[in-house]
Symmetry: C2
Subunit: 175 residues, 2 copies
DNA sequence: GGCAACCAGTTGCAAATCGCAATCGGTCTG
DNA sequence: CAGACCGATTGCGATTTGCAACTGGTTGCC
């Protein structure tokens, strides 16, 4: 939006786009939670983003070319947000941040399991997941068959929830 | 400082620590510019950080365990900031962000060259540079000898500056 | 010893951003 | 046609940002 770039440094420019507390969380929910509508992003957000901020971030991410928006044929008012290639390639950034967080910060077990698997899988697993995202968001069919990285992460998450969740209400928050 | 964590997600927790426009730039200058004093960080900053914000971010990074501060024996008032292991391990995060930025944003040639080399070098080069940072900041002697990654990046940067800089004042900003 | 330059911050203040709650106009469902 | 659902927008107080000036101290130099 407002252009006065502070410098032409790649790190600075990246921070000017996604260097805030919410943008990457929105992208995280799209990537790992497959949230595609405004309402999904709003109400299933672990961190309770408020609607004006979500609206603002979606607009910024659209302008930055990280997301695209299409009309949902099933509902005239509903929009479907998709990642662009540029957005999909934020996965390694997010994975790297998650790996650092899970190592040094007080991450809960159920929310950390995905980060650990993704770290252990390394760049190869990231690339595989990016191919899956290209299929979901760009319609580019992937080569590999069988269970996806996304499914494997989700299953691992749910196993932790089930194991820890006996009688524990906290564990039933997410789908 | 203020604790009310929004969630125990590794990505969220990482963003709560370094998810702003300045923290990672300070760390970048420490890593790639070897700035160790307040004044160095303040005056050699490409993006012209102001002193109150720098002071605040240094305090936050100290509290987060990413930096440590020691007195400089050569000057009673001078402090020396060093990276902790935790801070050094932010290098892959920064490298990944730089790689993304250099691919998708209007990065200047001289400021992009390091990011490109670091991307081409891959995780192996990052690990090597992290060993160099452990030597500089933690006093842990590294095994490998010969020119360091830091030196190679710096040399490449200066070559671009020299090549592009014929009569161009912009090129003589940094050391 | 005195003075200018340097050091790490701090303070005051205006502007911008954040975050909550309420609300809006339109759309779909029963 | 009523009520739930949809993607936002608005109002407003609290917080954060960014600039400029300043503080209290240290050091080098003549």
């Amino acid at each position: 939006m407002n252009d006065p770039k502070r410098s032409g440094c790649p790190i600075n420019l990246t921070l000017e786009v996604v260097g805030d507390k919410w943008s990457l969380l929105v992208i995280r929910d799209i990537i790992f939670g497959n949230r595609r509508h405004f309402r999904e992003l709003l109400t299933h957000s672990e961190e309770r983003i408020s609607s004006n901020i979500l609206a603002d971030r979606l607009k910024t991410l659209l302008e930055a070319g990280i997301l695209t928006r299409a009309d949902d044929p099933t509902h005239k008012q509903k929009g479907v947000y998709s990642l662009t290639e540029q957005g999909i390639e934020l996965l390694p950034v997010i994975a790297q941040m998650a790996a650092w967080g899970v190592k040094y910060l007080p991450v809960t077990e159920e929310l950390g399991i995905r980060a650990q698997l993704l770290r252990d899988g390394g760049p190869k697993m990231w690339a595989e997941m990016m191919d899956e995202l290209r299929e979901i968001h760009l319609g580019i069919k992937r080569r590999k068959t069988g269970p996806t990285v996304g499914e494997r992460l989700q299953r691992a998450y749910q196993e932790v929830v089930a194991r820890r969740g006996r009688g524990d209400a906290r564990a039933r928050i997410s789908d």
